[in-house]
Subunit: 222 residues, 3 copies
């Protein structure tokens, strides 16, 4: 299965980690009333930047890449502190961050899916692992901040972008395309969908049942 | 330890997954104000239907069964979407769903505990793994929905049913009973306790300290 | 790498687990309005006392130590129930519990970091694993109770103490000191910082940006 192995240079992986981590710290900075301390910011940075990769490797049962060198955790912590300190600057660079972040989820999704394929996983689990790699960090961030998970709610297409991108990757791989080409398509498709959602407000339909509108609200505990 | 290996046909496992997933989606459907989108419903379905098995296999350090074929994730996603779309129908089938769900936790508990025993784990960890298999999905569901974990609070006997069932299984196995018989007893005991809790309102005592009831917070004169 | 292997007697490890578990149950007992049942208390106990070790072993990809004998889970459950029943007594022993707990995080941090080093991890990941071992239980406790993660917010130095202690351990190990001495220093440093934070109110700076004070609150969803 050598043809499914796709590796990127360490600097590119670290750049993606730092974008995720910086995003996480800026997100957390919005919550002034929660009074995170510096360590809290660093934890959110590590969770957002590295969480997807942690979950990917734990799900795949392989050693954590983020533990293979000192650079991953160091990068995530530093990026989080920079994101906190220079928050005002980065808010002005909003569009740059959004584009880098869209590229990051595309890249994380592609790395996760190709890694899963190279370990022999079937197609749908490979797509699932790619999606977890892409969005797991933001899910962990929301759990640690005790917030509703943003990406499950109407309006982001964050995970959908990763899902469509990694599905394209798997399909192109199945029809025999070179893995590098498939990865590039995955990153482009993910980025375009994500940026389109931000720019044009694309979204998935809200949950609904096949029936007349129900106005009652009675969650059933189990 | 070949005598502790208990395997069920794929269709039965998938049926159990789909019951869990469908339950999760119906539960999430109760929260109209949270506005999950379709992907959010699918995520809750996967977490509820497959979460227990994910945790089981990660705790046991073995490859995730749910990644071994395309069917597990596909089944969980489809069951969640069906549960969302046909929510009104399934609400009317409430008793059927409750019975299937009680059977499901019994079955997941039995699979988890026998798998742990077959890997050589001692009795109490094996019971623990069975309980995590049975109720892990519902815990993950509540974490992702940012709710208090339902099963830790007074009134469900959800996890207790799984705990008593898997304990029975381990005891019967220790006294030398055939594993299939022990599994059947586990499933029956779990189902009966769970349905009894639903029907007759059985519950565990609330947490309390060994002392006179304290209604006040000021120190007692001594 | 034999020189990084540091093992403690089972009774010491179980004592540390029971301190964590007892602390977790007492913490949960503070929430009368949440109405945990007995099982909920046991779950919180297991999560707080064993959660750090679970995360450590999952991150390191090794079999869970807590599953190697019946004693770990049994100890955690019993300590949680004792903590619940004798809550009033233990509240009076507050200072004893606080000291035992500070020793416990020092010990868990040292065990985690030395285990990581003995598996060949680089320094920073080894420190990270030590910190997760020390504070992972309290993070899981807060997630299960649906609370903000206490240690990320201003005022505890809980994780900081573990971080400084394990960093000391790694530095002393790098300069060639005997591992047992390094462990003892780690436990002492961690304990002193933690107790100093409790006694003198030491804390880390709150998150802030390099700019004029901002009073707006606009969390950005991603």
């Amino acid at each position: 299965m050598g043809d499914t192995i796709f590796s990127i240079p360490l600097w590119a992986d670290l750049l993606a980690v730092s974008v995720g981590s910086l995003q996480g710290a800026m997100f957390a900075a919005g919550f002034r009333d929660r009074r995170l301390d510096l360590l809290g910011v660093a934890i959110i940075g590590v969770a957002t930047g590295l969480g997807g990769g942690f979950l990917r490797d734990i799900f795949l049962g392989v050693p954590l890449v983020a533990f293979s060198t000192n650079w991953y955790i160091l990068t995530a912590v530093l990026a989080a502190l920079v994101g906190m300190l220079l928050e005002r600057l980065f808010r002005k660079l909003d569009i740059v961050i959004t584009i880098l972040d869209a590229l990051t989820i595309g890249l994380f999704g592609a790395i996760g899916t190709t890694k899963a394929l190279s370990l022999g996983l079937p197609e749908i689990p490979a797509i699932f692992v790619g999606m977890v790699s892409a969005v797991g960090g933001s899910v962990l961030r929301d759990i640690l901040l005790n917030l509703p998970i943003a990406l499950m709610h109407v309006g982001s297409l964050y995970a959908v972008a990763a899902g469509v991108g990694t599905t394209m990757l798997v399909v192109l791989h199945l029809v025999g395309l070179n893995i590098t080409v498939a990865v590039v398509v995955c990153v482009i498709v993910t980025t375009v969908i994500r940026l389109g959602a931000v720019r044009y407000g694309w979204s998935l339909p809200e949950q609904r049942a096949l029936s007349r509108p129900r106005l009652r609200r009675h969650p059933r505990p189990s």
